[in-house]
Symmetry: C2
Subunit: 375 residues, 2 copies
């Protein structure tokens, strides 16, 4: 969303929100994908939303596409969402606390301790909606972006409980599942499940790329499993210097743990310790199989697993069939085998539909297995 702030040039403008009586008022600072989606989501739920951004054209675009009612800032806002790039979040949050002396202020930075260490006002609540990407523009705004998403809040001992309750209630209203964490704990956990995995994927991809320069055949051997593992490395790089700077200590700690574990694996491989290797892989297998899926799944969600080849038509015929049956697809992934492109299409559907799905797939020659999600 580029840089943004409480902009001097942005006057208090009310552009055509006549008839907006009695609604709650929110201020969004930063007209990017996240800010735009917060604005659109709040508007869809009856709020009146003002948006500010260093770049006026982004504000105009946000109003144009319905992510905000008006450009500028609205002193009557009861809550301010600071949705600017991570490196500016603390500074812009401090400005917002001054500019809005009675509002609750929250931010969306993906690293939290560096923000809450600087922004110690009782009216501030650190936040991290785990959805979307800071790099996409306001045009991708989606009022339902946060439905079912995890939204971490990191209140401090000095945080006003009423401010916290307000933020919790508003983001829950956007459909998010609020998780309360201490800021250092949040940073440690995202280092483990997001930051270090990203750095590792990039490292594996680079090792392969170097080898591919010597022997182009390499990439013909890189099958579905390798593609899965390195997929996140295809994402944009721009946010990572900030993240690595702001979450440095947690990232270094997890990198050390990763290296320690890889050293152990090296010992196990060197020693040919089959039992230790099997134990390690079985632990991982069991943990991965039990990794929870999306939180918005129906209570009775079931996984339908269909062996598919990537031959044309096979994937489409399965998904088309489900579409024709009116079966909602809650999630879908292709689990490739370690080698080759053959895979298992895993479709998460409502458990009530599974028998009909099994029957219909069977009639068309597809074998499938079905199991409840989480079992």
């Amino acid at each position: 969303m580029g840089s943004a702030g409480i902009v001097g040039s942005a006057a208090v403008v009310d552009a055509g929100d006549e008839g907006d009586t009695g609604g709650r008022i929110a201020q969004v600072v930063g007209a990017g994908l996240i800010g735009g989606s917060i604005g659109a989501g709040l508007r869809a739920r009856g709020w009146s939303v003002a948006v500010a951004d260093l770049d006026d054209s982004r504000c105009r675009r946000a109003v144009e596409i319905g992510s905000a009612d008006r450009s500028g800032y609205d002193p009557a806002a009861e809550i301010v969402f600071v949705a600017v790039p991570p490196s500016s979040c603390a500074e812009v949050s401090l400005e917002a606390l001054e500019k809005f002396p009675s509002a609750v202020v929250t931010d969306v930075a993906s690293v939290k301790r560096v923000v809450v260490d600087k922004v110690t006002d009782a009216r501030f609540v650190g936040g991290h909606p785990m959805a979307g990407s800071e790099q996409d523009g306001v045009d991708g705004s989606d009022p339902d972006m946060f439905v079912g998403a995890t939204w971490v809040l990191t209140p401090e001992p000095g945080t006003d409980p009423v401010a916290f309750a307000t933020v919790r209630s508003v983001v829950s209203g956007l459909g998010a599942n609020v998780v309360e964490l201490e800021s250092w704990r949040h940073d440690q956990l995202v280092a483990l499940v997001s930051h270090v995995p990203h750095l590792t994927a990039a490292t594996l991809m680079n090792l392969a790329a170097v080898a591919a320069d010597e022997n182009a055949t390499l990439l013909r051997l890189a099958a579905g499993g390798f593609r899965d593992m390195t997929r996140i490395a295809a994402g944009g790089s721009a946010i990572w210097p900030d993240i690595c700077a702001e979450n440095r200590d947690a990232i270094l700690d997890v990198l050390d743990r990763l290296q320690g574990s890889l050293t152990q694996i090296r010992q196990v491989v060197l020693a040919g310790d089959r039992a230790a290797l099997l134990g390690m892989l079985e632990n991982a297998r069991s943990a991965r199989v039990n990794l929870p899926g999306r939180l918005a799944e129906p209570e009775t969600a079931a996984e339908v697993r269909v062996v598919v080849t990537d031959r044309p038509g096979v994937l489409a015929s399965v998904t088309t069939l489900l579409g024709e049956m009116g079966v909602n697809i809650w999630d879908l992934e292709i689990a490739h085998s370690a080698e080759g492109e053959r895979g298992v299409l895993v479709v998460v559907v409502d458990g009530a539909a599974t028998e009909a799905v099994r029957h219909a797939l069977g009639e068309r020659g597809f074998q499938c297995s079905i199991r409840p999600v989480g079992s």
Copy 2:
């Protein structure tokens, strides 16, 4: 496929292949997924196939489902496929060379040097079809499993050129793309794109699982990117002790390189060297974006990228639409964002269909971008 061999109990049985005149004859040893698929593929292409396995019931099943014409071994076979677990491949190949004194013998073990070092006969050609999984049973056999798959052959200086040409021609006939590599090079490359990535995925999953024991919230923060990266860790563990024993040196070498690269990353993060970090991530991004997809794609394949949420119905409505339009889906993946479950559905279709696809998706409110594959 369990253990298998040239079985003493398996007599030369001709079970109902009357009328099979003039066809070429192949012997498959090992009635698992790979052996069954080779048999089924050859039969579909006019060959007569005999199958042997230590377990008679697996042979009977292979014949029942059409993966072979008959149980037992056929001395008239011109080619023998040894499709037994990696740790038995060398031994069973040596037996096959004795038992079939004029046939060409090839194997399917996923580590090659350990086999070709032991099996030095001029009639032997090491092979590694990169498709399927050694752990699945014969019931999953598919005559077209190898269509578009990479099949590595590792001839040695002493290999008879005619034997090599025969194997190359037969596996090409199954639809595979043959890649010729020295055995040590093959082992080095698969360590890099398959073995070490698998061990790394398991390691990351275990680090997260240990942290999740302390704080169950962790797994609620594990989004699509983490799921992609650890997906292969959900695969079976049974083959890995063999692979790690047989490809030990190459795996240790790649582990060392990975550790070296992670140490560099650690330095970069510690020093806050933004330029070095960006350079590293940009290299990886560019390499991943250019990773070739399936080889069987049409020349003009194009990627259609559609922003989707995982809300029910969205995935199905896109794939159903393509199905209704008669557009073949060559490949499909969901590229999750680093955080959250929002993603981009990437569908590979024939380039000729892209404008119609763009129009149809646009009419239904989906924005999509289209680019030729490989660009």
